[in-house]
Symmetry: C3
Subunit: 131 residues, 3 copies
């Protein structure tokens, strides 16, 4: 297992970590198999979406804040319940195919770390499975 | 890795691809392990839900359109931001257990390709891991 | 493949199954690899979130019921469409890294079975992949 470290800079932020996944695959010399990325935090998640136009990330962040508003009344005393809900909506991990030494993503796809309660230092764990 | 091709016929559509997953497992002769299906598009996703009553699919499509309305103002200039958001809510991949040569699904479960910005030709990548 | 059985006691309920995953890993003697947990039901799902403060679970359940209300009009005749939609929002499976014989979770993370149409007897399938 490999760990990558991220510094987020805002409360809500999507950070492209695709290169880090590819670097881990290349460093391990895995040709074919799977890579699992796991976010060990409960107020952040991982998702796959378009990385070319930054407006896509902003629209996703805004939509999630519309769906799970900060000004609703929540029971959790720490006051960051919306971040916990968004984490479950995005999910804690992504599983990607590795072929010919490359992480398989569509032409417009990138893997994003989704911060919902930043800014903070964060980690993502990576695990490779050779087939 | 195997690739299956799909032609969607509407803007929003859920297409049952469970048979294609089973065919890939049978063709590869894998008895036990995992199968990962990956949608390489950013305005479509994959999900698992009931396949018997088509009303379930329609209710899911309608609820997602209630949650992420087309008539909201978005930043992404291509005008298909709701499709990107729905893709992240459903997720880009599913990971299923293979046992005794069969893709393990519950009695009512089917694997669906979720089109949110069709109609278009689409692909799904499949990867088998033997255990 | 291993099967664990759960008895849910309410319509909406999140039950921590992390210990069952760890027990399966320990019993199988797997040191490094992956564990996949799969929910074979279409009105329940799996998610990873905070397990310490029970208010987090309640906030998540309440937010999902805000997003997919029971008093909306649905097409599915069985009357449990909101449970189907919530199942897809959470997802049917989680994939976790196993390292040194331990299921890798963040300090506050727990794996939850999410009941959305209980109370009922339910199952979760577990599959281990050694690396």
């Amino acid at each position: 297992m490999k760990c990558i470290s991220i510094e987020t800079s805002r409360r809500d932020e999507m950070i492209d970590i695709s290169m880090e996944l590819q670097r881990a695959v290349t460093a391990a010399g895995v040709k074919d198999g799977l890579i699992v990325a796991h976010c060990p935090h409960t107020t952040a998640g991982l998702t796959i979406n378009e990385g070319t136009d930054p407006a896509v990330k902003n629209d996703l962040i805004d939509c999630l804040s519309d769906l799970v508003p900060w000004d609703r009344i929540y029971g959790h005393a720490e006051g960051n319940s919306p971040a916990h809900v968004k984490a479950s909506l995005m999910g804690a991990s992504v599983t990607l195919i590795v072929e010919d030494g490359r992480v398989v993503l569509g032409q417009w796809q990138r893997v994003f770390f989704c911060e919902f309660d930043g800014p903070r230092p964060r980690n993502v764990y990576l695990k490779l499975m050779a087939s």
